[in-house]
């Protein structure tokens, strides 16, 4: 990640007031926080004794971990005004790579940490491939990433092969995500670190600032000397890396390799990015907002399950929430002609 030219993080927490030249966090996001509070209160009343328990909190945090990690990459991509639909494919390819290179019951390989490195590299490579096609061949990110989704899924399917399900054989490894430190599951702690790094990168590094600039107006960014193509490459590679990391954690949670380990994560993540308030057109938003969106949606799903809402209605509710959120976010701009990329 040396390409990122990350400056050392300031001593203060990321929320500390930045210098005048940096955009201050506006007091938007209040609506999302309020929505989260309302959800928590409603579900706590509906499910006394089950919703506000330590066990359920751990479940929510464990389930939020994957979309949180993916959300970091997805937010940066969407900030640039592009979109990354390849999430589930990259997760599958990286997850299967990780499982087959770790101690498993299909082959004798056990590369230990090497498996992790190779799997993340697979994600970076797929992200890089996306970026190259997008920037060199000028193919819209929507269609490139749709293709790469299936390329990733294809790689995962090939790796899965036709033999029995490959299980991870090291109990220490598979129990890692749900084991707790300070009462919090490791999967969530990892996601927390990734989100914090993502927030720092997007606020304090050239990569992050350029992503905003490219999303706000690519032409102006280019005219001002931003190497647009190069930074798009970096962002897509970073997003691929995030998806890969999520694929690895997902495989650890499952304790086995599965080509569709990422199933359902694309919808959840894109929805979280939008609900968090990052504009699909690019230029506005942020990683922390997405994190809030993820938590909101995870709590919503969890609460609906605890309340005994039928799964059919539940998926419809998720869809409605997404559409309402997009409509609400775009309300101010509805009169203007905006091009959604």
């Amino acid at each position: 990640m040396s390409d990122l030219k990350a400056r050392p993080a300031p001593d203060a927490a990321p929320a500390a007031p930045a210098s005048a030249s940096r955009p201050r966090p506006r007091i938007r996001g209040v609506g999302e926080v309020a929505a989260l509070v309302v959800l928590v209160v409603v579900f706590a009343v509906l499910n006394p004794g089950t919703f506000l328990t330590l066990d359920n909190l751990r479940t929510v945090l464990d389930q939020a971990a994957l979309p949180l990690v993916i959300g970091v990459g997805a937010t940066l991509v969407i900030l640039m005004g592009s979109i990354d639909l390849s999430v589930e494919g990259v997760m599958g390819a990286a997850g299967m790579t990780f499982v087959l290179l770790s101690a498993n019951d299909r082959n004798g390989l056990d590369l230990g940490l090497g498996a992790f490195v190779v799997a993340v590299a697979v994600g970076l490579a797929l992200g890089l491939l996306t970026g190259l096609i997008h920037t060199l061949l000028k193919v819209p990110s929507f269609i490139v990433t749709l293709g790469v989704w299936y390329v990733g899924l294809g790689i995962a399917t090939l790796l899965f092969g036709q033999a029995a399900i490959p299980f991870l054989t090291s109990d220490g490894l598979t129990s890692w995500p749900s084991d707790t430190t300070l009462g919090l599951p490791h999967s969530f702690l990892l996601a927390f670190v990734v989100v914090a790094l993502g927030a720092l990168v997007s606020r304090f590094t050239r990569l992050g600032r350029y992503a905003f600039a490219i999303g706000a107006d690519e032409q102006i960014a280019q005219d001002n000397g931003v190497p647009v193509g190069r930074y798009k490459l970096y962002v897509f590679a970073l997003a691929g890396g995030c998806s890969a990391l999520a694929g690895i954690v997902g495989s650890l949670q499952l304790g086995a390799g599965a080509a569709n380990v990422g199933i359902g994560n694309l919808f959840l993540t894109i929805a979280a990015v939008v609900i968090g308030g990052t504009a699909l057109g690019g230029g506005k938003g942020g990683v922390l907002r997405t994190a809030l969106g993820v938590v909101l949606l995870t709590v919503l799903n969890n609460g609906l399950i605890l309340s005994g809402v039928s799964p059919n209605i539940q998926s419809a509710v998720s869809g409605v929430v997404l559409i309402v959120a997009i409509a609400a976010a775009g309300w101010a701009y509805r009169g203007r002609l905006r091009i959604a990329k």
Binding site: T53, T157, I165, L254, A258, I263, I305, L306
Partner: protein, 383 residues
């Protein structure tokens, strides 16, 4: 602005209308062309035949097993084989089968349809090309082989109600005939899943002290089952004594979730399919002998039986017109497996070729352990 919006809406509506009309016409055309040909059964020489096995995907172990069975039969009969991977899409499935039909060789097909509604277009296409098809698992109830003609040789499946009863009984007994269970059905509109759940509910009538707390469909998927179980564990906590799943992939996901919740020694499981990892877990007594009930049926047996039925019709060895209704809409035996009788069933998997040899010797309806036991469609309990 308003003008452009209206005209765009109008164009959209016109487009949608046009698409519907074209779609309807296409369906109508294929239906008429289908019924006009392929009347009498003529023996096809072996060298003109290509075996085709169409499966839903290649990532599910059951599907992989189907492919294994098709390959073994192809080797045994010395007839070439093509595999169609539908990738979960009816569209992919139908277009790939049509492409193979267009190549000219006589197609002998076994298809595990992605959705029931795929059966008529596939059957019609095969009939028009003079091939023979046997369908596994999914078809509309009122679409019967004998109303289509000889080219739709048979529909075959294992009874889901029986599977649900087997595993439901075993799970209830496994938790000491008293306590709470949760259930993970497959895709909600799948008849296979619905019949298995109906069997479970029927079995529970004999166990009044066993309560089914909640059903959460997990789409036949290990990962989704993991998440659903995680949520249900958060909801019910220690109340859950047993987990029932409509197939083993989902049970394996549920087991992982229960393990992670630290309750693997307190919870029992029952499911359908006896996947290889399940066999290992049963043998090793994982948890406190956590897996108490399973069913035995195999993808390779299903695929080879279906393909062989089509093949016998194509070569004229089986006169389709003389086949009984039971042989054309068939239920094949499913075996209840418990830790006690597990060893009776593990022998088959180590010798797939041997089983296929037996199939070719005994014919598709009389090969243990998957013999023909009745006529479909399956009746749901109480209906």
């Amino acid at each position: 602005m308003s003008f452009t919006t209206t005209s765009r809406v109008r164009r959209l509506i016109a487009g949608a209308l046009a698409a519907t009309v074209v779609g309807t016409l296409a369906t109508a055309c294929s239906t008429t062309s289908g019924s006009s040909t392929g009347a009498a059964q003529e023996a096809i020489p072996k060298e003109d035949i290509v075996l085709v096995a169409s499966v839903i995907n290649l990532t599910n172990p059951y599907m992989a097993s189907m492919v294994e069975g098709a390959k073994a039969l192809s080797a045994e009969l010395d007839v070439p084989l093509k595999i169609v991977n539908s990738n979960g899409s009816s569209q992919t499935e139908i277009s790939q089968i049509q492409a193979i039909l267009a190549e000219g060789k006589k197609v002998v097909l076994m298809v595990n349809t992605v959705a029931s509604s795929d059966a008529p277009p596939i059957v019609n296409a095969v009939k028009a090309a003079g091939g023979y098809v046997t369908i596994w698992w999914n078809k509309p109830d009122d679409f019967e082989p004998w109303t289509v003609g000889d080219n739709f040789v048979a529909f075959q499946k294992h009874p889901g109600v029986e599977s649900g009863r087997c595993t439901g009984d075993a799970l209830a007994d496994g938790i000491g005939d008293e306590g709470n269970i949760i259930a993970l059905p497959g895709v909600q509109d799948s008849t296979t899943s619905q019949t298995r759940v109906a069997g479970l509910e029927d079995a529970l009538k004999d166990h009044p002290n066993v309560k089914l707390l909640e059903q959460r469909p997990a789409n036949w998927d290990q990962q989704i089952a993991f998440k659903e179980t995680q949520s249900l564990l958060a909801k019910y906590g220690d109340e859950i004594d047993g987990v029932w799943a409509a197939d083993d992939a989902m049970m394996l996901g549920a087991i992982e979730a229960v393990k992670k919740a630290g309750r693997i020694d307190d919870v029992k499981f029952a499911s359908d399919g006896l996947y290889p990892p399940t066999i290992e877990m049963m043998k090793s007594g994982m948890g406190d002998d956590a897996i108490v009930g399973e069913t035995f049926h195999r993808g390779y047996m299903a695929a080879a039986t279906g393909l062989y039925t089509s093949y016998l019709a194509a070569t004229g060895e089986l006169k389709v017109a003389d086949m009984t209704k039971e042989q054309r809409n068939s239920l094949f035996k499913i075996s209840c497996v418990t830790p006690e009788n597990l060893d009776e069933f593990t022998k088959y998997d180590t010798d797939v070729e041997g089983w296929v040899k037996q199939l070719v010797e005994n014919g598709p309806f009389d090969t243990e352990p998957a013999t023909l036991i009745g006529q479909g469609p399956e009746k749901l309990p109480g209906s």
